[in-house]
């Protein structure tokens, strides 16, 4: 099933996505606007791993601010042909033990699915956001790429837990993850509305995964859940609004790229930002700015906050009957290079699979090219379900 060779070496090398700060290493989130920016401190997750003896092997390229599909639109190199995700690739070829990425609009999960590695987007608040180049504060979360659930568990056990430097960090000092809970008797549902958004190949993959779960004694049922589209729309509104606000600090005044030509402060802002951001970021800023404007706020941003609550309640209700949800991660098995002018719409459509976990903060695990979602703090259930399949495949 996996199209890569697992070389589980004992080395402690970790790759770090460019959206995560590593002290003194250029951290530019794939954007020209942060060209040359070298942070004075490392992200909390990086510091914790270093303290535990891991080595930060290098930074992996991301699309500008993690807004694209898998990393195709970075200032530091655009991709041609079939698209790939740098962090997922270095994990897939065994160059590193694991990698850290920020899951904001699904790029990390899609990247892992395409490369056939695991990625866990943990429950919101369990991993410190200190030291990530923040875009959508209310739903982004630092997660882990690894060749299998054991690797995810190992890294998560080090990085998860309260950090006083992050006001959204939950109070528990640490979390325990297991990969070998008994799965027989557990119940998993497949959301029909999400299957309908994927091509045949992907649907077949999800169904094959469901069969493997059934073989382990798990009950898998197809159900209808009508929250998929509203959840995605709400998340795109919140995400673009928060991103628009968070990248507004990149103005050419303090650090990063500054235009050479300007006559006054307004031109300094406009020229630096025009040169510094790519088309997709600009589209995101425009969309987010509109969503927050006085005339649209109540209908867009305000309503999205209400939708978030409704979706969270509906999902919690669903999780009273099931232990996890099984979904596709992408609509197809591979993406080909495309024009950046089409990126906003393309990413919007693809994030239908990933947005729920960002919107309501629940954990999502990509393994074997499919996604398992569960209720808050149900990481161990997801890791155990995926683990049973990974172990059976060995």
């Amino acid at each position: 099933m996996n199209n890569y060779v697992v070389k589980l070496s004992d080395n402690g090398n970790i790759a770090v996505d460019d959206t995560i700060l590593v002290k003194d290493a250029q951290s530019a989130a794939g954007s020209r606007i942060l060209e040359g920016f070298k942070p004075l401190f490392s992200a909390e997750a990086v510091t914790r791993l270093e303290k535990a003896g891991y080595i930060m092997a290098g930074k992996t390229q991301v699309g500008e601010f993690g807004l694209d599909l898998v990393g195709e639109f970075s200032y530091y190199g655009t991709q041609e042909g079939t698209l790939t995700c740098a962090a997922a690739n270095v994990v897939a070829c065994g160059e590193v033990k694991a990698a850290l990425g920020v899951d904001m609009n699904g790029a990390t999960r899609r990247g892992a699915a395409l490369a056939g590695v695991d990625f866990l987007k943990p429950t919101y608040g369990t991993v410190s956001r200190y030291g990530i180049i923040s875009c959508a504060a209310s739903g982004e979360q630092l997660g882990v790429y690894a060749p299998n659930v054991e690797g995810v568990k190992e890294v998560m056990s080090v990085i998860a837990g309260h950090d006083e430097k992050d006001g959204t960090s939950l109070k528990d000092a640490s979390y325990t993850y297991v990969t070998d809970e008994a799965v027989s008797g557990k119940k998993v549902c497949i959301i029909k509305e999400l299957l309908a958004k994927a091509d045949e190949e992907v649907v077949a993959k999800v169904n094959a995964y469901a069969d493997k779960l059934r073989a382990s004694g798990v009950t898998v049922e197809e159900i209808s859940w009508d929250m998929v589209d509203v959840a995605n729309t709400a998340w795109q509104m919140l995400m673009t609004a928060e991103t628009c606000n968070n990248v507004s600090r990149y103005d050419g005044v303090k650090y990063g790229h500054r235009a050479e030509q300007y006559k006054n402060i307004d031109e300094l802002y406009v020229n630096s930002r025009t040169e510094g951001f790519n088309f997709l970021t600009k589209a995101t800023i425009l969309y987010g700015s509109d969503v927050l404007s006085k005339n649209r706020y109540d209908d867009c941003f305000g309503k999205s906050l209400k939708v978030r609550r409704v979706v969270a309640e509906s999902f919690a209700k669903l999780m009273e009957s099931y232990d996890a949800v099984l979904t596709p991660v992408c609509s197809k098995s591979a993406y080909e290079a495309y024009e950046i002018e089409d990126a906003f719409k393309t990413v919007f459509e693809e994030s239908a699979f990933t947005a729920v976990a960002n919107l309501i903060g629940v954990p999502a695990l990509v393994s074997g090219g499919v996604q398992l979602m569960g209720k808050a703090f149900a990481e161990s259930t997801l890791l155990s379900l995926a683990g049973s399949i990974e172990r059976a495949g060995e």
């Binding site: 951290s27 200190y130 030291g131 006001g167 005044v253 006085k294 706020y297 906050l305």
Partner: protein
């Protein structure tokens, strides 16, 4: 026609905290050089997250209690978006939807009688930095960014410049006395919303907002100018009034339009997801209430009853640091009147000599109480007490250790004093003769000579007693 002035105020007050509102940098008062008190958080670098300073919440709630407000048990922060180089994140963290205090009331005593002003709300927010223009260049100083502020918003309840000034002075006294804010120059800034309507009318006139005024005198002049401008426009149609933001020019005494309603910025407020809602539970609120300083009038009455002079009371109620030190040493058993003298004369004098103010005094009440008690009990004389106090303030020494090491203990045996005095008498025959011939001053010279011989240690009362006895014997 007679016109009525209608004013609402938005007053920004810088809070007296050790650190900024969302990071551990010292406030800008701790800064000596531009960008002295700056970290990645308050300079807007990526990766840093705001972490709430609890003390800001407590001071804001205390201010709300002083202004008879309702305290919100659930309070949240919002982001206000605008671009300016002194605003490093390009947004200000403030409170729009759930401010910390609402619905207060202040009573004002003016020459016209008593009036009441309703407080609409108090909210917490961060200050912006400062631009310094040097020739053609503009430099940014982030020392003031993220310094905590409260903004106190009143209803449009003021009807004269006098009421405004009485209100502002009341806030100033209250906040200084309560340790909320030092209210120094620039630490209290006002936006004045002003309109004029025919007397008896219920409808409000067209409103202008005069932004960012730091001096009370300028506020008064601006109100008078603006009132006349509005009256002229209504009465003589000198101009058409529009809702707009104006700036007061101190040199000309006039106000100028900055921007009108149509060109007003859309600040695109939205909730700050980096800061969780703050819940003020019963326990926390009770703690804040218990720590709330007593009302100014009550405080003054207490001091008066203890025999402290009006002049000293005046200083004490303006100075939280001094009055807190006094209350603490009194609680430790010192006499209030005596202790007030120690603080306002001796401590203040020593601070002044070092170019500082009593407000900057950082002295433990234990140390001061120890010194006062040494003197009260006669273990040390007043002069030595002052010497110990100086060493404690200037060098941070331990008073008891310092006293011992420098032999300032005044428990000198009476027989030692007598023998010293005998020697002084024999060496100062002229002074003795002068005393006999009726020159009272000579007694003082003899006393001084004894003190010098005893190196200012012994109990002065005992010396005086022995001196009197010996002079009688002559």
């Amino acid at each position: 026609m007679k016109y009525e002035l209608v004013i609402g105020l938005e007053t920004h007050v810088e809070l007296n905290t050790k650190s900024k509102i969302f990071c551990s940098c010292g406030g800008h008062s701790a800064a000596n050089e531009p960008n002295d008190c700056v970290c990645p958080a308050c300079s807007g670098m990526p990766g840093m997250l705001p972490v709430m300073n609890k003390r800001v919440v407590e001071l804001a709630v205390t201010a709300g209690l002083m202004l008879n407000c309702e305290i919100s048990r659930y309070t949240t922060f919002d982001k206000k978006n605008y671009y300016y180089p002194d605003l490093p994140c390009a947004y200000q963290i403030t409170q729009l939807n759930h401010p910390i205090c609402t619905n207060g009331l202040v009573t004002l005593k003016t020459s016209e009688g008593t009036s009441e002003v309703r407080i609409k709300q108090i909210h917490m927010e961060e200050d912006a930095g400062k631009l310094v223009h040097v020739g053609k260049a503009s430099l940014v100083d982030f020392n003031r960014t993220s310094v905590p502020l409260i903004e106190i918003v009143t209803q449009p309840d003021f009807h004269s410049a006098e009421e405004v000034l009485v209100y502002l002075n009341k806030l100033k006294t209250m906040f200084r006395s309560g340790g909320i804010s030092e209210c120094e120059e620039g630490a209290m800034r006002c936006d004045v919303n002003i309109s004029v309507r025919p007397e008896g009318s219920e409808e409000f006139g067209v409103r202008s907002e005069i932004k960012n005024m730091a001096s009370f005198e300028a506020i008064e002049r601006a109100i008078r100018y603006e009132y006349q401008r509005h009256v002229d426009a209504l009465e003589f149609e000198t101009e058409e009034l529009v809702q707009e933001t104006r700036r007061f020019d101190d040199a000309t005494g006039k106000t100028f339009a900055m921007r009108n309603k149509e060109t007003e910025a859309d600040y695109r407020y939205f909730p700050d997801a980096n800061l969780m809602p703050i819940i003020i539970d019963d326990e926390w609120l009770e703690q804040i209430k218990a720590a709330k300083p007593v009302e100014i009038d009550e405080k003054a009455d207490n001091y008066r009853a203890a025999g402290i002079s009006e002049k000293e009371i005046g200083v004490l109620i303006q100075n939280h640091n001094a009055s807190k030190l006094l209350d603490d040493v009194v609680a430790k058993g010192c006499d209030a009147k005596n202790a007030a003298g120690w603080i306002l004369t001796d401590c203040a004098g020593i601070m002044r000599k070092n170019g500082k103010l009593i407000g900057d005094l950082e002295m433990s009440s234990d140390d001061l109480a120890a010194i006062i008690k040494m003197v009260e009990s006669g273990d040390v004389n007043r002069m030595s007490g002052r010497k110990i106090l100086t060493a404690v303030i200037e060098e941070g020494v331990d008073p008891v250790v310092y006293c011992k090491e420098n032999g300032l203990d005044s428990k000198v045996d009476a027989s030692v004093i007598e023998s010293v005095m005998d020697r002084v008498f024999s060496e100062n025959a002229q002074a003795i003769a002068d005393y006999k011939s009726g020159k009272v001053k000579a007694k003082q010279a003899l006393f001084g000579a004894c003190m010098r011989e005893l190196k200012n240690t012994a109990d002065t009362a005992v010396i005086k007693e022995i001196l009197e006895k010996k002079l009688e014997e002559i």
